[in-house]
């Protein structure tokens, strides 16, 4: 399979690999996928009090395109508001990485991971307000 240069670059030099403190009230975690399907992505975002994403980390079990998709979104997320993050579409990820049709699901999974992380941080914020 021929990978685009951007996929290879993210695969060889993945950005923002790692984890944040999942118990931190300002950290949202999204974990999507399943081992049996060959992809699991874990995305963590840290949001400051003004609702801006300060930091993003990922870990991905999956093919090169899945690793590249998650690495790319961690770059994109930093500095965005959570609403801007929520609006990121898989098509933008697929286009940026020039993913072939059989790898589009990797970009879908990355979008799902963002949405799951945002949902988690919103749930945490809601819990904080109602506490």
């Amino acid at each position: 399979m021929a990978y685009s240069d951007k996929v290879l670059d993210h695969y060889e030099n993945p950005r923002n690999v790692g984890s944040l403190d999942k118990n931190d009230p300002n950290v949202g975690t999204g974990m999507v996928g399943a081992p049996a399907c060959g992809d699991v992505m874990k995305l963590m975002i840290k949001v400051n009090d003004s609702g801006i994403i300060e930091d993003a980390k990922f870990k991905t079990y999956g093919c090169g395109s899945a690793i590249a998709s998650s690495s790319l979104v961690t770059e994109w997320l930093k500095g965005k508001t959570i609403d801007e993050a929520y609006a990121i579409k898989n098509s933008a990820i697929a286009e940026e990485l020039a993913l072939p049709p059989v790898k589009i699901h990797c970009s879908v999974l990355a979008e799902d991971a963002i949405k799951a992380a945002v949902a988690d941080i919103k749930a945490k914020q809601l819990a904080k307000e109602t506490a």
Partner: protein, 405 residues
Amino acid sequence: MSERQPIYLDYSATTPVDPRVAEKMIPFITEHFGNPASRSHPFGWTAEKAVEIAREEVAKLVGADPREIVWTSGATESNNLAIKGAANFYAATKGKHILTIATEHKAVIDTVRELERVGFTATYLQPEPNGLVDLAKFKAAIQPDTVLASVMLVNNEIGVIQDIEALGNICRENNVVFHVDAAQATGKVAINLEKLPVDLMSFSAHKTYGPKGVGALYVRRKPRIRIEAQMHGGGHERGMRSGTLATHQIVGMGEAFRIAREEMEFENARIRKLRDKLLHGLQTIEETYVNGDLEHRIPHNLNISFNYVEGESLIMAVKDIAVSSGSACTSASLEPSYVLRALGRNDELAHSSIRFSIGRFTTEADVDYTIELMKSKIGKLRELSPLWEMFKDGIDLSKVQWAAH
């Protein structure tokens, strides 16, 4: 690291032609070009003589009579000829059931499936988790109408060696024709068909340092086994396989099998040392699983799964070595190896498997390089893997509720 040529560790896929073999072949392309079936002039006689010397060499390696060797285009054709040929010949007197093993090569599985399509029935027996066939289960799977059984001597993916003698005896007791695919076995395990209760055996040249495009089928004479020809024409090879013989290919196979006979003992000892070094090196990596029995196994093969690492990213990581993987990397629907699935390996482990196969030209430096490469790449991919992190945190991944997609 990336400036190096990939190291070839895929000898079970194919082997290079030994230079001594190539040298023997060349005159039969240019100079001695005669048709071995031409009986009326020296061009034909020279070619025929070379073909018969090669036939003797193939027969000698496996303890057969040269008259029991039929030339084919390779093991796939040999398997087709043996299975279809014998099943069709004996169906009327014995029955239409075929017994084979779920981990056979596709050239056997698909041939049996084709026979199912034309009215035969078949059993694809599951091997034990170590890849070996349980003799009692094999015996129990034989039916009164079982006409033929087919079991490979050495498995192509996991290298395990089946107990052909015991399986053959069970077939004899039940009057079942016994075919053995030995494509992966020649030059690796000793074969003596004088003693082995085997009726038909398939061989390939290119797995044993001979050229691609040639193979042979052993057809027992005493007691005589009959097969229906699948290729019709000039009646070559005693009518069992028509078609002008590929003299140069056949000469190559003969020379390759001669070298195998003379050198296999020494060569296998050397290869075993290399394989054991590779095994011990890779076993220092946590959460690795050898697929298939280690004892009943050719020394050339190591099939190993690296847990918590996804198969396709693994193959991307090891592009500096030429190996084969259980996962079909080019399609969206990753299909794990059916052989590993038949051993009961879960999808993740089946996906993250690599088959290393070592051969005549593998060096100790190749093995050292491979061990270091695997250690560093597996380490890197696990750093990236959320599953590895969860495993390290003591989470039982089988109990996690995954959002399947």
